[in-house]
Assembly symmetry: C2
Homo-oligomer: 218 residues x 2
């Protein structure tokens, strides 16, 4: 499938070489991230809320209780900006000024549409579940009609999207390279730690392999 088409708001004004419209890169960032930040305008003010999401093809799904503020603000057709950021490292330069971070981020612009069809809502919930833990959907109790009806699912078509990526060592001013200051990158990773069983879990239920061997980076 073709890459994304640059628009005025997805084209970087500064350091354009860090920007990308490559579909494969954008999808890989969206698929590795766990939380997106949804920005919208409410009563003329900007609001940014972190939330879970899932992607199927060209659709990004978010969801929430009908009673939540975000879901009541994000009526069908609401204008949003959705951002996913993966932090890869701290960039330690010789000068304070050139300190930076290595990261991969995606910014999406568009209008959400509400998913009303129960089959598509179920597919969106499958997508959320599989997004956080691949293999999980087959093991869990599927959603009931009442659960589906109490959940608002919003779909955002991936049309106007761009990635921004920084990698590699610090970029210092030429005359600073001779300074006797350690410089480089401290890599950062999100790792799975302990698996804490629910205190109400009956004896004899083994933790599944997809959790014991969980790794986020794809």
């Amino acid at each position: 499938m073709a890459d994304f088409t640059p628009t005025a708001r997805t084209t970087l004004k500064r350091l354009p070489r860090r920007g990308s419209f490559e579909r494969e890169l954008i999808y890989s960032i969206l698929d590795e991230g766990l939380v997106c930040h949804v920005g919208f305008v409410h009563n003329n003010h900007p609001v940014v809320i972190p939330t879970a999401y899932g992607r199927t093809g060209e659709h990004l799904y978010i969801h929430g209780s009908k009673a939540s503020r975000m879901m009541s603000a994000l009526r069908d057709g609401a204008d949003v900006s959705v951002t996913v950021t993966l932090l890869d490292g701290l960039v330690l330069a010789r000068s304070a000024f050139h300190h930076s971070m290595n990261y991969r981020s995606v910014v999406i612009f568009g209008k959400v549409s509400e998913v009303l069809d129960r089959a598509e809502k179920t597919e969106a919930l499958r997508c959320f579940t599989e997004h956080i833990v691949k293999g999980r959907w087959a093991d869990v109790r599927p959603p009931t009609k009442a659960e589906l009806d109490g959940t608002t699912v919003l779909s955002l078509t991936l049309e106007e999207a761009s990635a921004k990526v920084r990698t590699g060592p610090p970029l210092d001013d030429e005359e600073d390279y001779q300074l006797p200051i350690w410089a480089g990158v401290l890599q950062l990773r999100t790792v799975a730690g302990e698996l804490s069983p629910d205190p109400r879990l009956p004896d004899g239920i083994e933790s599944p392999t997809y959790l014991r061997e969980y790794r986020r980076a794809l």
Copy 2:
């Protein structure tokens, strides 16, 4: 110092027990995070951009090149929503519907003001550097006047802020607890990995202890 005062937009409509206005908690989340998501309105559309930040007392600082889109959009007095999210775990319930995440997040509302005074700008740059790596400022080449003049620093006073926190095991429907499905929490952590020296680093410059022993969680 007193806790934050709830306002209409920082009061949770749903699950209010997850919300907090406690100053100490809010500061601890801001101090542990590395990236914030800044939301603003540009040409009537919401925009969300990830960026580094620092905090001193009641002030949160963000910065960027004068040439960047965010900094040209965020003129003095611009209305913003700034969000910091720490992801602590994946919450695996017995039902698809009750899957969740454990997290700590802060949402701030306010208007930014531009820092023009060079001494305060230097203090803000110190704050950014120390925010990512405590102890780093003393080792680096300090900013020059030209660097300070080319950087826009914005300050956001922490007045309207709230935290939202989810911890603990999944909360399933009572009748689902008997299902033979593993449930619990997979803890997630951000950890420091390899320290990659700049390829241009001269021999004999040792990496500092504050990097070799770097830990993010406070």
